[in-house]
């Protein structure tokens, strides 16, 4: 199997096979000696050569993060043969979504639909655990849509507004 793997925004190509239960692995064409055991769900004990690592996998809202020691890496895995998971455009053009980063309650909507905003301008205020957090516009543009109203409960990952 060949995968395109993005770790913190950088791309790597990984060839991974498991003939007879042993992993065989090429990273960007270079052979790497790998020995891995799933200690428990989401925890891998990996040896690269004789160096040992414990890797934790965090899966939240469909996103994968890997922890190597206390370093956290955002990972995206694509199988190049499949059509899923095309690389997303990373530029500022086009509409941008404003999403909730954690569960909470909308306590204030600061702008109205159709209004102009600067990048970094406050759009919504979310409250959780007695603290309020202002969510800011990811870009300069027009508020195309506000998808929530004051008092609404939201979840991590929910789209709250769209700026275009």
């Amino acid at each position: 199997m060949t995968y395109d793997i993005t770790i913190d925004g950088k791309h790597y190509r990984l060839d991974l096979n498991r003939p007879e239960g042993r992993w065989s692995c090429r990273l960007d064409g270079r052979e790497v000696e790998v020995d891995a055991v799933l200690a428990r769900p989401d925890v891998l004990s990996i040896r690269l050569g004789n160096q040992a690592y414990e890797v934790k996998c965090e899966r939240v809202s469909g996103e994968m993060h890997l922890w190597v020691g206390s370093a956290r890496f955002a990972a995206e895995v694509r199988d190049p043969r499949s059509l899923r998971g095309r690389v997303r455009a990373a530029d500022d053009r086009g509409p941008k979504k404003l999403t909730a980063s954690m569960p909470g309650k909308i306590v204030r909507v600061l702008v109205s639909q159709g209004s102009e905003v600067e990048a970094g301008a406050g759009v919504l205020v979310v409250e959780a655990m007695k603290m309020q957090n202002e969510l800011k516009s990811p870009k300069k543009g027009t508020i195309q849509k506000i998808l929530v109203s004051e008092g609404a409960a939201v979840n991590a990952g929910d789209v709250l507004a769209i700026v275009e």
């Binding site: 770790i7 913190d8 692995c25 790497v32 690269l48 996998c57 020691g69 007695k130």
Partner: protein, 509 residues
């Protein structure tokens, strides 16, 4: 001794008190709000009573509901933990009226310490050192001018009803005094509906050091050594340690004796804490008294070998203190980290949600007081304190090294926590040299964190692990991908929707 104790609290402190009850052969009654049915304190209790909606005013702050449960369950005492009703004199009085023992000081002692200016007046009479200034509200600008000149600039203006920095002004020179006083008064009026403002000498870069006291109901009061709590963010303690690196036995004795004097002046019983500000010349000034068990009580337990909750219960049951001041032995060093559900990359905003993976530290010198477990959904309705990790060592260096090791073992997946903050603090050279004051943490966080480039080997490991997890598929996935709950729906819920579903389900009870 009591037969049954109701714990009017939740989270790690409720678990802490339940453990003490069980150790003493006492049954423990939990109360819980609708979003806390699956909380650890309910799992561990002998009896558990629902007391209402998530909002604390409907449940954990509702005096009548809690007293009703005490009556129904046959509890003969109530432990309030910290926060919620723990410093509520009205609750302490209501317990007396209901014939159930409140494990803490009397309502009268709470009242004596509850108002900052009243406490200050009492301390003045008892000869306790406090920050020079007025112990009553300022009556005029002229009075302010006169006092400021006498105690010397810089001075601090403070709202009598204040808290959280509202109505506070630091004044460096006489020219600033007038506008500052007006500003403080109008802010105090707006914030608390009370424009009373008093004046104090400003202590620059103070340390926050507090003294634990314990008083039985037979007139015996002892001090159990100090805690250094200078590491604060938004006036919230983050790291506490005992003993304080700057307190020597002589200073400890002096502070301890003052703390005992404070307690006696208030007719104090049970466990309490006297807080001091300490200036750079090691002068200490009375700040306030906390009339409850503190979050950070474990560091004192580790250096003294005592169990404060056991002692609270024994004192409340009428027992005498089982030791004298001379028998208190302080040995070693302990440091506590408060693990919060908050996001270090998002200005420490709270981060409730489902804990998908939990790896716990243990081993030599490590104590863990926790209210969480893998698969639990942290509700968004309460204080985000999840657990306390405490390291003990022969000396401060060993306590730091053990705590660092344990922090590296500790893993909380699915939600954000401030674990990385502690690694940052514990490796800081100034922290290691014990150069601290209450501004330390804000300064540390303001420093442009030199974004260390990721270790290329770690990136390689992460890349390969991402591939392997993908190959292994769902069979290698933990609680994040598996709903835990009475719901056996086949679809993979996201963490967030699962959280909401759990909340809804529990709200249906």
């Amino acid at each position: 001794m009591f037969k049954k104790i109701l714990i009017a609290n939740r989270g790690e402190i409720a678990v802490r008190v339940i453990r003490a009850c069980h150790e003493m052969g006492i049954a423990a009654v939990a109360v819980y709000s609708d979003v806390d049915r699956a909380s650890l304190h309910v799992r561990k209790a002998d009896d558990a009573y629902p007391i209402g909606a998530a909002a604390a005013s409907e449940s954990y702050l509702n005096i009548q509901k809690i007293l009703d449960v005490a009556a129904r369950s046959g509890a003969d005492a109530i432990h309030p933990g910290y926060g919620f009703l723990s410093e509520n004199a009205k609750f302490a009085r209501a317990c007396v009226d209901a014939g159930v023992k409140f494990i803490g000081p009397t309502a009268a002692a709470m009242d004596a310490m509850g108002s900052k200016t009243r406490a200050r007046q009492a301390m003045e009479r008892a000869g306790v050192p406090y920050v020079p200034g007025t112990s009553r509200g300022l009556e005029s600008f002229e009075q302010a001018e006169e006092v400021a000149a006498r105690i010397g600039y810089p001075v601090m203006l403070k709202a009598a009803a204040g808290g959280g920095g509202k109505g506070m002004r630091l004044v460096h020179a006489p020219a600033e005094l007038k506008s500052s006083l007006e500003g403080a008064r109008s802010e105090a009026e707006r914030s608390f509906g009370d424009s009373e403002v008093y004046i104090e000498k400003a202590i620059l870069n103070p340390r926050h050091i507090e003294m634990q006291v314990l008083a039985d109901e037979h007139g015996n009061t002892v001090y159990l050594g100090e805690r250094e709590c200078s590491l604060q963010r938004r006036h919230q303690k983050v790291v506490e340690e005992a003993p304080s690196p700057i307190v020597d036995p002589e200073m400890r004795r002096k502070m301890g004796e003052v703390a005992v004097r404070v307690a006696k002046a208030a007719g104090y019983t049970n466990a309490g804490t006297v807080e001091f500000l300490v200036d750079q010349q090691k002068n200490f000034y009375f700040l306030e008294m906390n009339t409850r068990l503190q979050v950070e009580h474990p560091v004192t337990e580790l250096i003294t070998g005592l169990d404060l909750v056991h002692l609270q219960i024994r004192i409340a049951a009428g027992e005498r203190l089982p030791f004298t001041q001379d028998q208190v032995v302080i040995r070693g060093h302990a440091i506590e980290c408060r693990i919060y559900a908050e996001d270090p990359d998002n200005n420490y905003f709270p981060s409730p949600g489902k804990i998908t993976l939990l790896l716990l530290p243990s081993g030599p010198g490590i104590r863990l007081d926790s209210g969480m477990y893998e698969g639990w959904t942290v509700p968004m309705d309460y204080d985000p304190l999840l657990a306390k990790l405490i390291g003990y060592g022969t000396d401060r260096d060993q306590a730091i090294s053990r705590l660092t090791r344990a922090l590296n073992e500790y893993f909380v997946g699915g939600i954000k926590t401030n674990l990385s903050l502690f690694r940052h603090i514990l490796s800081d050279p100034d922290f290691r040299a014990a150069k601290m004051d209450t501004g330390f943490l804000d300064r540390l966080l303001k420093q442009k964190k030199a974004e260390a480039p990721a270790d290329p080997k770690a990136i390689e490991v992460a890349t390969i692990a991402a591939g392997i997890f993908t190959v292994l598929g769902a069979s290698a996935a933990g609680a994040g991908e598996r709903p835990v709950g009475n719901d056996s729906s086949a679809t993979k819920p996201t963490v967030a929707s699962n959280w909401l579903r759990t909340a809804r389900k529990e709200a249906m009870r």
